[in-house]
Amino acid sequence: MVTIGIMDYKAGNIRSVLTAVQYLGAKGIISDDPAVLKRCDKLIIPGDGEAQAVMEVLTGSGLGEFLREYFQSGRPILGICIGCQIVLERSEERSTPCLGFIPGEVVRFPRQPGLKVPHMGWNQVHHDQSHPIFEGVPEDSPCYFVHSYYPVPRYRENEAAWTEYGVSFVSALKKDNLVALQFHPEKSAAPGLKMIENFIFHC
């Protein structure tokens, strides 16, 4: 059975990620211990949160260094929500330096009349089937978002999906063995579950 490590860094409701992984027939382990996570076949970086607080936890606990090693080892990683932001170089949220696995930065939605921030609710995800995580997921599937900041990768090759909200922004990132989703697949009904299933069995 595939074992999925779910990194616990005190960020939001990560139990729902475990529930989805188990529902789909894989073994999930929530842990904050690099030694435990290192033994997992694949890794999920879940959670909501604020970039600076999250980076402080990662740096202070050694989990940041562990992530770098895991990424370099070539095993699959799935980032969710804040896990889709901290993989870039820096976040505008309190000018926070991040992990830098993917060139680019994280910026806030523009302040404009009628545009409510956080971007919260269901919105369409346009993807180009360029990544196996979207295999069998209908184009423009609605997914569940809750965020005020969004990723801006420097290179087109790291873009995997797009969403419109005041601006057109990149809602999924990819690089080598890393794929990251700005929305919550564990709360995005059938399309989201399909992505998690793809990650477990096909990434």
Partner: protein
């Protein structure tokens, strides 16, 4: 484009839903977990569970329901009723809810909004507000608490603005005038709040047919519409309502009930 949400509300007493339900086939009537799964498969966008028990035993059964719901549905859900402290919020979120809703307790102790938001994030904290039409108030609406039985000195618009400032991430506005009438939502107040607040506004109370949802999402400018009896008694299904809204040009979510091998 952000889609308009349809939210179904379930009242739970001693672990059972209080309103009956006429599903087709062999459905265990009154089991909130079964009902939640049913609405999830029909394509509801979010669910709200209100604990209307007063006893500690009822509370334990309720949290057990929340935990079992979390294993069955993969959409966000909110839990309200009986939440009066940060510890209550934590217990509810740990049981698997995405959001907690606070109503009378927030009026009595507004600081709980701030404490909850700084602890768990604004996206988790929903303000429930019951309002009654009252021309003597500045906005024309008065906040009432304890299920609409007790009037307060608060103006509905002012209270909503204050709650937003304190960190509420969403507001559910329930019109006591419209509640239970099935004659449509309170449009004036909903629109006033939608135009004045930055956070999403959910309209509640008065829905009897799909036309009412269209009205409150268009004229009332609500981000979401909450419904209960119009689906609980089998009068309408979620797909019927969504098809109607689509025909009115309102963007709503459609997705297959399953894509995975699991189910």
């Amino acid at each position: 484009m952000l889609l308009k949400r349809i939210i179904v509300c379930l009242d739970v007493r001693n672990g059972k839903t209080t309103k009956g339900i006429r599903f087709k086939g062999n459905v265990d009537i009154g089991d909130p977990v079964v009902m939640a799964r049913h609405y999830y498969e029909e394509g509801v966008d979010e669910l709200v569970f209100y604990d209307i028990t007063a006893s500690a035993e009822g509370r334990r059964l309720f949290l057990d329901v929340v935990e079992r719901v979390a294993l069955q549905i993969f959409i966000p859900f909110c839990v309200g009723g009986g939440i009066g402290s940060v510890q209550d919020m934590r217990d509810t979120l740990m049981a698997g809810a995405e959001k907690v809703s606070i109503n009378s307790q927030a009026v009595k102790n507004p600081r709980i909004i701030q404490e909850g938001a700084s602890r768990f994030g604004s996206q988790c904290i929903v303000l429930g507000m019951d309002a009654l039409r009252d021309p003597s108030m500045p906005s024309g609406y008065r906040v009432v608490i304890n299920g609409g039985r007790t009037p307060t000195e608060r103006d509905a618009l002012q209270w909503a603005l204050e709650a937003e400032k304190l960190g509420a991430g969403e507001i559910v506005v329930n019109s006591i005038d419209a509640d239970g009438t099935k004659e449509g939502y309170e449009l004036t107040l909903t629109r006033m709040l939608s135009e004045s607040l930055q956070i999403p506004v959910v309209a509640s109370g008065g829905a009897g047919k799909p036309e009412h949802l269209a009205e409150v999402l268009l004229e009332g400018k609500a981000d979401a519409a909450l419904i209960a009896s119009m689906v609980h008694y089998g009068e309408y299904t979620i797909p019927q309502i969504k098809e109607y809204l689509t025909a009115q040009g309102i963007p709503v979510r459609f997705s297959p009930s399953s894509l995975t091998n699991r189910c």
